[in-house]
Symmetry: C2
DNA sequence: TATCATATTGATAATTGTTACTATTATTAA
DNA sequence: TTAATAATAGTAACAATTATCAATATGATA
């Protein structure tokens, strides 16, 4: 792949993600950054998100419901998706990377990564329901 | 929700999935069933897949690459997705449901399910590469 | 068995999320 | 300061999925 050139749009996307604890969609990022860059294009956001994700500088989260989300925190962690409000939260949990070993036991191929999503009802929605 | 009425299309989709070990997409199911039901509609396939999935009679697999896939085997198991040929395989592995407990420890909401996908290179692709 | 209410369908249009294209602009090395 | 090319904005195209709606099939009831 060709050498990277600087782009303020890409930097803006990266630093927007870096200081967010939620996990915005491409469209959320686009809308937010358009305030500072009024003629930012949605294509540019998608292009850079997939580039940054390929470079390992951000992570793509596919939830199975709605659009993909993106995470500026690339350290190993997993996510909880509320089936009620659809918010995505980081989970602060022990390392479970050993499940790759467990999965490898009766398997012929080579496993080198995994994604886990946990589903349920978040605290907020639990409180609202009663 | 209103009471279900029988439909041969829905039964066909269910039994098609029941006797397949791979994990076909909506479109694959549609193409295959059109041989027996030439005027089956793709919308009918999608409608029934999401209905059956809501009823828990089949499972939807979101891989993060390409369209969703569907699994007639609803017993607890996980999947391996080859990042080379994109095939989806069942993994025969020990139960790891306890990771829901692990995840619940520092979390306030209520976790009631989880999905894990494992990624890597399958046996076939490994052999082809060398 | 005929009738009725309604769940389901096929056909198609609409929507959503994402990627591709292209002329123009920005970046970087010489 | 020029030249090569990566990146952009704007827009069109695309793929996957959902919605709409008139016609049909199902199943309960008379």
């Amino acid at each position: 792949m060709p050498p990277l050139k600087y782009s303020k749009q890409r930097e803006a996307i990266k630093s927007f993600l870096a200081c967010r604890l939620d996990h915005p969609t491409a469209d959320t990022i686009y809308s937010a950054l358009r305030e500072e860059y009024p003629n930012l294009s949605l294509g540019t956001v998608y292009r850079n998100l997939s580039l940054l994700s390929d470079l390992g500088e951000i992570t793509k989260i596919t939830t199975g419901e709605g659009p993909d989300r993106f995470d500026g925190n690339t350290s190993r962690h997993h996510h909880f998706i509320c089936t009620c409000c659809h918010q995505v939260n980081d989970l602060d949990m022990e390392n479970i990377d050993f499940i790759m070993e467990t999965a490898s036991k009766n398997f012929d191929g080579h496993i080198d990564s995994y994604f886990v999503n946990f589903y349920g009802i978040c605290k907020n929605c639990l409180e609202k329901k009663q």
